[in-house]
């Protein structure tokens, strides 16, 4: 089947199998390997992207469901020279170690800040329940999200 989607600002029209997952389209067809797969039960959150502005687990979205949508992946939010405030905060606060959960964690965290009025430690922790990290114990991730909230809300 044919699906059309805008990924990181670029329109794509792709022929894909009916059972293709969004994450496979991103990784294998578009070469956007920053979106990772860490589980098969929609728990770990390594595959989180934004679809029409909402954070979703790309491993649990069929390509057909993403037809006609705008998708943003980790590759679409900033570059090493012009980092998104959340990316910068993750680096500054050492909120990543192996880096595997990081893209999904950053995409979730951006969504969390964008849809929240004012986050504190407790609400950040609760808001990240859909993302697993095995390296950091979340301590520095929480710090990074709170720091990014400051810069994102200043910038807004």
């Amino acid at each position: 089947m044919e699906v059309t989607m805008t990924v990181n600002g670029t329109a794509h029209s792709l022929g894909v199998p009916d059972n293709a997952l969004l994450v496979d389209v991103l990784r294998e067809r578009l070469g956007l390997t920053g979106t990772h797969v860490g589980c098969d039960t929609s728990q770990c959150g390594a595959c989180v992207v934004h679809m029409d502005g909402a954070a979703v687990k790309a491993c649990t979205v069929l390509a057909g469901q993403a037809d006609g949508t705008e998708v943003t992946t980790i590759e679409g939010i900033g570059t090493p020279d012009a980092l998104h405030p959340m990316q910068a905060a993750f680096r500054e606060n050492h909120a990543l170690q192996c880096g595997f959960c990081t893209p999904g964690m950053i995409m979730s965290a951006i969504d969390l800040v964008q849809r929240s009025d004012r986050l504190d430690e407790r609400t950040v922790r609760a808001g990240l329940e859909g993302n697993l990290c095995r390296c950091t114990g979340y301590h520095n991730i929480v710090k990074a999200v709170l720091a990014a909230q400051e810069s994102m809300q200043e910038g807004a």
Binding site: F90, R91, E129, R134
Partner: protein, 782 residues
């Protein structure tokens, strides 16, 4: 030199730029033209005889390239997966090593054990093929429970009573004699629950065969690519070492589980040669649960003898350790040399005897998981010390203090074969007590009580032996490999530097930490140092990353190499400045002649080495590149105090950690930001073991906690923010004075949590994980 990027500075990590922008390159991100996909066919039974495997339908399925079974591997002389550490039983006999073919041939012995592999044009084709493989199984009775293993039906023909070994350490007679004189004896029975490592990146492999060169390349998620190559070449016989290159690119966490040489990677690289095409495999999470080596799983009875003042007289420990169905790569060393040797803890216990029975069960193999033996030892020691304090009515901090090895006692020889070089255990305890506000605990407890909650506090004063390890010692105790590390420092023509190391980084930040060391040593900008790792094709044979060894062993190798660079640079500078070599000093990146204003920069010397226009060729080779191998003279001994304070909701049994303090002595610290991060992650895993995580098999050997739907991983809202601090007694025997920080969090924290829960409830014991129902039941037993 102190600088913003040198040793001691919280330098932001070099590697982060690619990880936060999605440009990391993990094994599953690597693809080869014309690649095929491998899917493993796994046993649904915990134990069954294989009467036959019919692969015809699978081979004929659409898109299936090939189907292989253990017989095919056997026909190619592919060997068993070996265990790299020979442990001897107390009667002097060798441990019994059952055959461990990569693909099961006659019998399967755990759920998830692979017995065939299907290679398909696509992943879906390979999956379809795998479903078409038909095995004729004759189910046999299985044993999953460690406590019943010795009396259960024999799993392997060669292993009576399912016993791999029955090992001991320490002086039994002296220990028994001390118990005779004891004023008080504290006894505990504890279970160290089975854990499933769960690095967020599942294992993956891409095997390629180059027919023209007759060589193989394996991209894989390994913590130690050189070891992987050695074993695949020398023991498994996949390819000669010189024609096998193993590359571990970015690896998404390991925690021990990616040390080992597994069936899947072995079959993938072998199959690439058979089908003459690249073969790719990536584990689904459900496969990781079934087939990654699990951790822990001990059952222990321990007794501590004390005199009337609470002085420890002797410790007696009896442990059963679950090996799973086969011996994984280092499985045998975990409950012995990484466990029994640590039972002295931080204390002057004069007599210790430990006996460990390693048993096979019909479960996934068990091997090193973050801490590996040392968390189990700490759990025994710190649970029994805490229990003794309560039984004798002595403050738990005070009882520990009375028994600490004192600073003047070092070097301290323990009754369990280790020599601690240095430490100051009271210093960490004192700092931790201050951070937790121990003095205010009683008031906080009263407030909790008024709110209908029960508050408890728990201590854990742990020690670990890491910086693995002196090769001579390890080999004499049964290790099959040396345990040194290699480092190379290549100075480029323009003075920038490329470092190669055998210490693989899968989250630890070596690209940053090692660059800090080299930048400091050579006085060159941090940005000018590039650290490479994870490729047998470009670095010397070395042992990789495990046992908190990277900085203490790998970092020391790099320091040795930079020392050689400086020594050669001084010779070059002496010639160029027409001075005596002894007159040339190296400071802040400059070669100076003493008492003169003559000086050359590091870059000028490097340039001269590579553009030898006026160069002492008769005395000195051109070039500036040095390598070093470092084999440590002793283990390092990080130690510290962890204190947990928590509240229990008596209605639901829910445990809420209010505060957690970790004060660790890691010796000198190169990057405090990275060290803190390592501690945080370890604490989460240790707390996860105490409260959440449990690898559970049912009596028939089916894995019940086989996905994230049932295996409770710590999430952000399960954990508090941590208070982390350090004390410093530098390691006495490595050039950096460092001890290693990778495992401490996971080693110390579990006992602190469980001591706090039992304190809150006022009960002697609660089993792990302390789930709400477990806690609720413990309260009802009161």
């Amino acid at each position: 030199m102190t600088s913003e990027t040198g040793i001691g500075a919280a330098v932001r990590r070099k590697e982060d730029a690619r990880f936060i922008t999605g440009m990391g390159r993990y094994t599953d991100d690597v693809n080869a033209a014309g690649q095929t996909w491998a899917v493993f066919v796994r046993s649904p039974h915990a134990r069954a005889k294989i009467d036959g495997i019919d692969t015809r339908a699978a081979a004929a399925a659409d898109g299936v390239v090939a189907v292989f079974t253990g017989a095919d591997l056997d026909a190619d002389d592919i060997g068993d997966l070996p265990c790299g550490w020979l442990v001897k039983s107390k009667d002097g006999s060798d441990m019994i090593v059952p055959p461990h073919p990569p693909l099961a041939v006659d019998q399967v012995n755990y759920v998830g054990e692979p017995y065939a592999v299907v290679i398909g044009e696509t992943l879906e084709a390979a999956k379809n093929g795998a479903e078409a493989v038909v095995a004729d199984f004759e189910e046999l009775p299985a044993v999953a429970d460690l406590a019943s293993a010795a009396s259960a039906q024999q799993i392997h023909q060669t292993v009576p009573n399912n016993q791999c070994y029955d090992w001991e350490l320490g002086d039994q007679a002296a220990t028994d004699a001390a118990f005779e004189k004891a004023h008080h004896v504290t006894a505990i029975d504890i279970v160290n629950n089975r854990l499933i490592p769960n690095a967020i990146e599942p294992r993956a492999a891409l095997g390629e065969y180059d027919a023209a060169a007759g060589s193989y390349t394996l991209h894989t998620t390994s913590q130690n690519p050189h070891l992987e190559r050695l074993v695949l070449a020398a023991f498994v016989n996949v390819a000669p070492e010189a024609r096998l290159r193993v590359i571990s690119p970015d690896v998404g966490g390991g925690f021990g589980s990616k040390i080992f040489i597994y069936a899947e990677e072995t079959a993938v690289i072998w199959a690439a040669g058979k089908v003459r095409r690249p073969v790719k495999w990536r584990a689904e999470r459900s496969e990781s649960f079934l087939a990654d080596a699990h951790g822990r799983d001990h059952v222990t009875h321990a007794e501590l003898a004390l005199d009337e003042n609470g002085t420890f007289l002797a410790l007696r420990v009896n442990t059963m350790a679950n090996m799973g169905a086969y011996l994984s790569t280092f499985a045998s060393s975990v409950p012995t040399y990484l466990y029994g040797t640590l039972l002295a803890g931080q204390y002057r216990t004069p007599a210790i005897h430990v006996q460990v029975q390693a048993l096979f069960t019909n479960t996934a193999p068990v091997d090193a998981y973050r801490g590996a033996g040392r968390p189990e030892a700490t759990y025994v020691v710190e649970r029994i010390v805490e229990t003794a304090a309560r039984e004798m009515g002595i403050d738990p901090a005070e009882l520990r203090r009375r028994n600490f090895i004192q600073p003047e006692d070092f070097p301290y020889e323990t009754p369990v074969a280790l020599t601690y070089d240095t430490g100051d255990y009271e210093a960490s305890l004192a700092k931790a007590l201050e951070h937790i506000d121990y003095a205010g605990f009683a008031a906080r407890r009263a407030v909790s009580q008024a709110n209908g909650k029960r508050r408890g506090i728990g201590f854990s004063c742990y020690i670990e032996a890491c910086g693995l390890a002196p090769s001579q010692v390890a080999i004499s105790l049964g290790a099959g490999v040396g345990l040194f590390e290699a480092g190379e420092v290549r100075v480029d023509v323009t003075g920038s530097v490329t470092v190669t190391t055998g210490s693989h980084s899968h989250g630890q930040g070596h690209e940053t930490t090692f660059a800090q060391i080299v930048s400091d040593q050579l006085g060159i900008p941090f940005e000018n140092v590039t650290v490479l790792h994870g490729d047998t094709g470009r670095s010397d044979y070395a042992l990789g990353t495990y046992g908190s060894r990277s900085l203490a062993v790998g970092g020391s190798a790099i320091v040795k190499a930079t020392d050689k660079i400086i020594a050669k640079g001084r010779k070059i500078a002496a010639h160029m400045l027409e001075a005596q070599e002894e007159q040339v000093e190296f400071e802040d990146g400059c070669f100076n002649v003493a008492d003169s204003n003559q000086a050359l920069t590091f870059a000028e010397v490097a340039f001269a080495a590579y553009v030898p226009a006026n160069y002492p060729l008769e005395d000195l080779e051109p070039g500036l590149s040095e390598k070093a191998f470092y084999d440590p003279p002793n283990f390092t001994y990080p130690a510290g105090t962890h204190i947990c304070e928590l509240e229990v909701d008596p209605e639901t049994g829910v445990v809420d950690i209010d505060r957690f303090v970790a004060v660790d002595d890691f010796g000198h610290i190169v990057n405090p930001m990275i060290v803190e991060g390592q501690v945080h992650g370890g604490l989460a895993q240790g707390i996860g073991q105490a409260l959440l995580e449990h690898g559970v098999y049912d009596p028939s050997g089916q894995l019940l906690s086989g996905s994230y739907m049932d295996y409770a991983m710590p999430r952000a809202d399960d954990l508090p923010s941590f208070t982390v601090d350090t004390t410093v007694t530098p390691c006495t025997h490595n050039p950096l004075g460092v001890k290693g920080c990778g495992e401490a969090g996971a080693i110390g924290s579990t006992a602190a949590v469980m001591n706090a829960i039992t304190d809150a409830l006022g009960v002697a014991s609660v089993s792990m994980p302390a789930t709400p129902e477990t806690v609720w039941r413990a309260m009802r037993r009161e």
